[in-house]
Symmetry: C2
Subunit: 191 residues, 2 copies
DNA sequence: ACATACTTTGACGAGTGTGTCAAACAAGTC
DNA sequence: GACTTGTTTGACACACTCGTCAAAGTATGT
């Protein structure tokens, strides 16, 4: 390679992720990312073409990490505990930072300035992935026998619940309340 | 009154609501509302001071109507049916329009440009109101005896679920899926 | 008819946004 | 040392944003 990239791409995407996460796609300007990363706006446009493409690049890494963490939390042998760990992880993730950062994928899903098809596809892939992990975890013979509804349906309910919890976090800013609600749902699914 | 308002306030707030609902608080400009209502920007500023105050005025009407509808849907004597009607109403509301408009309160809750305290208070009032209606409806002796978890917890789970459904609507744009998920939850709560 | 009190109107200031581009630059290759 | 190829840089064009304000307009009360 002859004319090679001068800036540290990992670090730049990391900073970009933080900004997108905190402010959301629509409210984040390329200048915000330039300032946060120390890379000039022009270089960002040269390297990533436009804001949407840069975002997709950032989101790719986010989704991968997130799914990895989810898989880890669900690994607990006890189904109840696995689900509690799962909710614990998502709640901790969204209530991290001051002010709390919330959930990147939910912010993006709701953002009217992020309605491009590429973004929606990326969102679907992440949620599909989470749903698959959940479904697989609660499809064991043991879990199946204890569930009040079929695992496929329970997985959908659980994944939908995580999205709802994100919204409630924004409104009430009370992690304990979120955990209690999550525990209530688990109790209803696995009495 | 001497110098009285020239424009039809009802109609103007109605149009403003439509725009805010479709585009979200942050992405809506005063010019958007001026264009949609036919009232000049200057007049809007004169009448409502600023964008946030105008929004709060709009949201007030929205919340009132919404709570009224919720109360009506929950009135069904059969608890299962009442909850199904409740979800049916929220899902129909968010999937109305082309493109579907989603949920105004959820869009506002997630919007990083709508983080003012007055807005958060208005959001809490609406959600608190919905929760109260739900809780009261499922606190009857009959409902209580059938619920898998206490009515207070069930109300929180239900309200959180509606917020999650809104997010899933944005991602998958599939009303049937939303109804199925809602039905699954009701099944888990009232087996 | 005239004063009053408010609304309407359109221009203004100041800031922000996206994306483009030509020129300067840097790092390998011949 | 010259060439190639991509990157960096800062300025540019253009559009949009919020909120303000002076001047013109208008319906009511006297």
């Amino acid at each position: 390679m002859v004319g090679q990239r001068q800036f540290d791409e990992r670090r730049t995407l990391e900073r970009a992720r933080e900004v997108f996460w905190l402010k959301g796609y629509g409210a984040t300007s390329m200048q915000d990312i330039a300032t946060a990363s120390g890379v000039l706006r022009g270089s960002l446009y040269n390297a990533y073409r436009d804001k949407e493409t840069l975002f997709l690049r950032v989101f790719e890494g986010y989704a991968e990490e997130f799914l990895g963490e989810v898989a880890r939390t669900l690994a607990h042998p006890d189904v109840d505990q696995a689900l509690r760990d799962f909710f614990d992880f998502t709640i901790t993730s969204m209530t991290t930072g001051v002010p709390t950062r919330g959930c990147l994928s939910t912010k993006t899903a709701i953002d009217t300035k992020a309605e491009g098809e590429r973004i929606r596809v990326a969102l679907r892939e992440l949620i599909d992935g989470m749903e698959r992990l959940l479904r697989e975890r609660i499809s064991t013979e043991e879990a199946r026998s204890r569930l009040t509804i079929p695992p496929e349906e329970a997985a959908r309910v659980l994944i939908t619940m995580t999205r709802g919890i994100v919204v409630m976090e924004r409104v009430y800013q009370d992690p304990e309340r979120l955990r209690a609600t999550a525990a209530s749902l688990v109790e209803a699914l696995l009495p």
